[in-house]
Assembly symmetry: C2
DNA sequence: GTCTATAGTATGATAGAC
DNA sequence: GTCTATCATACTATAGAC
């Protein structure tokens, strides 16, 4: 017996797969409904619009990720010493938690996040800020404490550079991983990319 | 007397303005021809296709930028000590040279480059590699010499992170600059962003 | 809830008169 | 070289039968 999955879930699953592979704008409702094996019109029936569907796909991950990140930030705060790399390493815990949503959850989420920022998804930014703004504010506060030598402006730009590096790594991720594999004859996992990224962004942020 | 500009140039100028503001895919041939004050069909008459037009827009900058970059790399090579930040600073010279193409040339070029990589423009990558691959190989060789403590894999990933940070800064550039201005009550120029970027990527690349 | 059919809009490209 | 007119195609979204 095939599992009985609601049309809503079928749409979410198909959309997630295609969005994370090709991006939001590059994926049409036709592709999604075909992949999901449901009717074209059902997207608008269940979600109202493509934008709302995008938000729903992201939300499944954000509602898991953000609370765990906040938890980790609070743990970090209790430590006597607050080191940049330590803070970034804490991202690995909420990321790992996403395997509960989907076996490939961490990869998928990071790629979705990449597309969310590289394509200009104003509505997503607004939604994230509204729902999880406090967590992001908390992160910023801790990074400032760990890097008192940076002024506001340096911090502002470097955080955006970090975001850019992370986003780019994920969006170009699969292509890059394949290049890396053929070049180094080693299997490369998405997790390895994170491990490469953390010292890079830490070094960049701390630089005097 | 209005300057007599050829239709080709009118198209190139309008396309450049719109591409650098909105990206390649977000800009339609109809917008371009309207902005240029020429007929819709003339793009295909003069350039053959939208892809070819994109390439022509980029080429105007690349043919100026790349030779000057190569010149700078050769100068760097003659120095006894080869420092990472020194290498990245050398990018400022070929960038500044782009004011000869257009007063806003450096900004425009960096934004175009950003879109070229964030949207997946396979044909552009191929073109750049074909025409200017040797310069990029040279840069890679020097960065390796300046950072002998990094293995191939670390170097590979960090270069892509750097690309991501740079691209993101440019593509989100105008929006970010506006945020920065309102937040810091200071005028921010594109040049300032470069100055912020250089120590960040240098610190990130060198990190042990 | 799910379907077909289609409205309404936008795109890149081209044929053919001038 | 430049124009008008139009083709062929893709998209999101919705109306209305079942």
């Amino acid at each position: 017996m095939a599992a009985r999955i609601s049309t809503q879930k079928k749409i979410l699953n198909a959309a997630e797969m295609l969005f994370s592979r090709d991006g939001f704008e590059q994926t049409s409702l036709r592709q999604i409904t075909q992949e999901a094996g449901v009717n074209l019109a059902s997207v608008n029936y269940h979600f109202g619009s493509k934008k709302a569907l995008i938000q729903a796909v992201m939300a499944r991950y954000l509602v898991v990720f953000m609370p765990v990140l906040e938890e980790q930030l609070q743990l970090a705060e209790q430590q006597s010493e607050l080191k940049t790399e330590e803070l970034f390493k804490r991202f690995k815990i909420p990321l790992a938690k996403l395997t509960e949503v989907n076996k490939q959850g961490p990869d998928i989420f990071l790629r979705l996040l990449g597309f969310a920022y590289s394509e200009i998804q104003g509505h997503l930014r607004k939604y994230t800020q509204q729902e999880f703004g406090s967590v992001l504010q908390h992160l910023l506060a801790l990074l400032k404490r760990a890097n008192p030598h940076l002024d506001e402006q340096q911090m502002f730009w470097r955080l955006h550079f970090i975001l850019g590096a992370a986003v780019f790594a994920q969006v170009s991720g699969q292509a890059l991983i394949e290049i890396a594999q053929s070049e180094f004859n080693e299997k490369v996992e998405a997790q390895d990319v994170i491990d490469q990224l953390i010292p890079f962004v830490s070094g960049g942020l701390e630089e005097a």
